[in-house]
Symmetry: C2
Subunit: 460 residues, 2 copies
């Protein structure tokens, strides 16, 4: 199940059929062991094999067996990360892992915490930025504040909008900054948007930059953004959920030049680093205990003030959660196993694979890259079936092209040979986004990928 | 490691010593396999054995091996719950499990989602309540709204305060309603607090009731609370993170009489049902797609509108998260294995164990229960060492009593024989809170518990 290329990536079933096959209903009486074993086999059989080398569909893929061991051990030990009392090993381990991630950002000190996913990490940044600017918000709520304004690029992750809605800031107060062709924030437009917000009476407090956008894998220019944040006194957050792992690589970390000037960074090792869902850190430059001051609720039943050990070890008051899953062990164990060097190699290999794929693609008719060369490991392209080649100027070209990717995708999933995502973006009709991360990926798989897109789409 | 009573519950080490033992540092180079195996053994050795039958410290404990199998399988399959495309089995399974939980609440229809913990589930309720009352908040933020007011009991979980801070409502707008001796909300005071809030110009929108408070395990009276919510047009949320599992039991579900009148319910099967962290559901009576309308961000790269299957199966727009861990499989597999009947027996057994323990406790000198009889499986008590017995009227009695539990706890942890929590609450000085849930628990363990408290505390 875990890595055989002989197996399909998915065994597609229509929802009604799948529900019947799985016999999902929960009943009054329990089942026999042989039935339960069959259920386990069925769950695995009809689930998508995200660790199959031909799964290119999401920003996670592949499997690292050391991390998987850490995940199994986490489940077996079943504890919550909130106090040293109940999670002594993991409180110390989280601190070490976060400190190591921070050092890659360029911070000798700071703070941070693991969160259930990048969106929540980004929400922490928004809440901390608001609290630093207006500490009274915790007690009094947003009414005590002027209307606030957040700035992020048009191609940033939708979690910024989710955060603004959830945290009472309002989605209309997220100002979308223009991007260039590659999807990188145009900083002149950031300055203009800040002035626009001010002219409307809103108070800017947060710039949410992105290192590795979801679709194109673009890196916003952090140095000029930091200059603007400095001048304006704004919290600078870098959403590097996807791109953060370039910091492991001496060759590629320049993509995030200036990140050390940020106030906070979101980084999801469960993406490129293959730790498995979920492993997302919010890292902070702050050394004033802002995280705890912002989120504490001083629950006496959990954080007794007369404990016999150093209560600053209890992380519960840093979190918006109460019970919090242990997310550090899987990353720690994998890191111990392969070293920083092994993680660096993994990043460099993904970039090399991407270059290889792009070169192959350029030589094949019918593959049209978005942009000249991907900045990261997102390879975005249109597949142009033979019937559409050379017809770029015909009036229905865009309309017909927009229908190509969905049909290829449907055929692909129904046959189960591989999985890759597509989407429209801005003025661009549906195009594929292939993600190259899995260390299980071979050159053969990449050739297969190109052949398979042709096979599935050539007659369209 | 998993269930042997011969082993200690914890092997206490001071943080500095533990850090050295674990050699936490992450280095440039990887390690050999034998070193890694030693690390895995050390992590297990120094971690708290939360599945030890003498772990009484939190609202989770014990292990169910079917659930654990589900957790291992979840980790091996490593997918995200957001689309049918990438999680076909789990999208359908989550729907079935949620529907079954809702039917126990008393709802034939409705909505819901699994969240990373009860606090986040409670935050969903707060956001949904706000959005139903003022849909413009999503776009415009809290500034477009009048000052809002939330009502909850003095003994409700601290997540209400965390939610109010995080979501821009403000902690001073949480009105704390008085409780009776058992910790149950006094509904006359709820009515008074609602009038108080109105007199201050705030607009009530949410009553956050509790079924199973954290410390005393109290159940708020849901019927009269529902009457008040009906009359005032308020969203009624029931935080049954801890107590919800009584709904499995024909004998004990009366504790939540009236829950079907609520708008939303938080329920954490990872607590009494032993699914393992995390498994928390927010259940909704709503059938108007409120969850999706409130949380959607319409990300075209994930939720393409030209998919070949029914896109209403994609749950991503219901969630505030993007990637979301699969939390349904562990509960589903356990439920399949033991049936509703097996789960009911588990709940009934915990109540029976609690009664047994309480009867034993009443017969022992030095054990003084808080209240006459626990409503639930939280057994709250003071241990009165011989030196303090009969001295209730001496001026330093409370002060001396307050120091007993911390010392016993310190000795207990350093010897590792068992773990139980303590806290002060309201006017009560430090008392123990023992939680009886583990099916691995025997009468012998309960006798051991009482003996051990005496052994550790009698000379104080």
């Amino acid at each position: 199940m875990l890595c055989c290329t002989g197996l399909l990536v998915c065994e597609w079933r229509e929802p009604e059929e799948l529900a019947t096959l799985l016999d999902l209903e929960l009943r009054e009486n329990g089942e026999q062991q042989h039935q339960l074993l069959q259920r386990v086999r069925d769950v695995a059989k009809y689930s998508v094999k995200t660790n199959h080398p031909r799964f290119f569909n999401q920003l996670f893929a592949g499997v690292d067996y050391h991390a998987l061991t850490g995940r199994f051990l986490t489940e077996a030990l079943n504890t919550s990360q909130y106090t040293y009392e109940v999670a002594p090993v993991f409180v110390l381990m989280e601190d070490e892992v976060l400190s190591k991630l921070r050092s890659l950002v360029g911070w000798a000190q700071g703070d941070g915490i693991f969160c259930p996913g990048g969106t929540v990490s980004n929400m922490y940044a928004m809440n901390l930025a608001r609290y630093r600017a207006f500490p009274e918000v915790k007690l009094k709520g947003q009414w005590a504040l002027p209307r606030l304004a957040v700035f992020t690029s048009q191609e940033s992750h939708y979690s910024v909008m989710k955060a603004a809605a959830f945290q009472g800031i309002g989605t209309e107060n997220v100002f979308k900054v223009k991007v260039d062709d590659r999807g990188c924030m145009i900083t002149d437009d950031l300055s203009e948007k800040i002035e626009l917000a001010k002219s409307q009476g809103a108070v800017p407090f947060l710039v949410h930059a992105t290192s590795g956008t979801t679709v194109q894998g673009a890196f916003d220019p952090l140095e000029p953004i930091a200059d603007i944040c400095d001048r304006q006194g704004l919290w600078m957050h870098v959403d590097a959920a996807w791109g953060g792992s370039v910091l492991f690589s001496k060759e590629h970390r320049h993509l995030m030049r200036g990140v050390e000037r940020a106030d906070s960074v979101t980084w999801n090792p469960h993406k490129m680093m293959l730790t498995g869902l979920q492993c997302s850190a919010i890292l902070l430059k702050d050394t004033t205990d802002l995280l705890k001051r912002c989120h504490s609720a001083d629950a006496t039943y959990l954080f007794q003030q007369d404990k016999f050990y150093d209560m600053s070890l209890d992380t519960g008051d840093k979190s918006i959660q109460c019970g919090r899953k242990v997310d550090c062990l899987k990353l720690w164990l994998m890191w111990k196993a392969v070293g920083s060097q092994g993680l660096e190699e993994r990043v460099d290999r993904a970039f090399a694979h991407t270059r290889y794929l792009v070169e192959k693609m350029k030589k094949r008719e019918g593959f049209q890259l978005i942009g000249k060369q991907p900045e990261f490991v997102n390879v975005c392209f249109w597949f142009i079936p033979a019937s559409l080649r050379g017809k770029e100027n015909s009036p229905d070209y865009q309309d017909r092209l927009s229908k190509v990717a969905p049909v290829i995708k449907e055929r692909m999933i129904k046959q189960g040979t591989m999985m890759v995502g597509y989407q429209p973006q801005g003025g661009r009709v549906n195009f594929f986004r292939m993600i190259v991360i899995s260390p299980q990926l071979s050159y053969k798989d990449m050739t297969f990928f190109l052949d398979e897109i042709e096979r599935l789409g050539n007659n369209l």
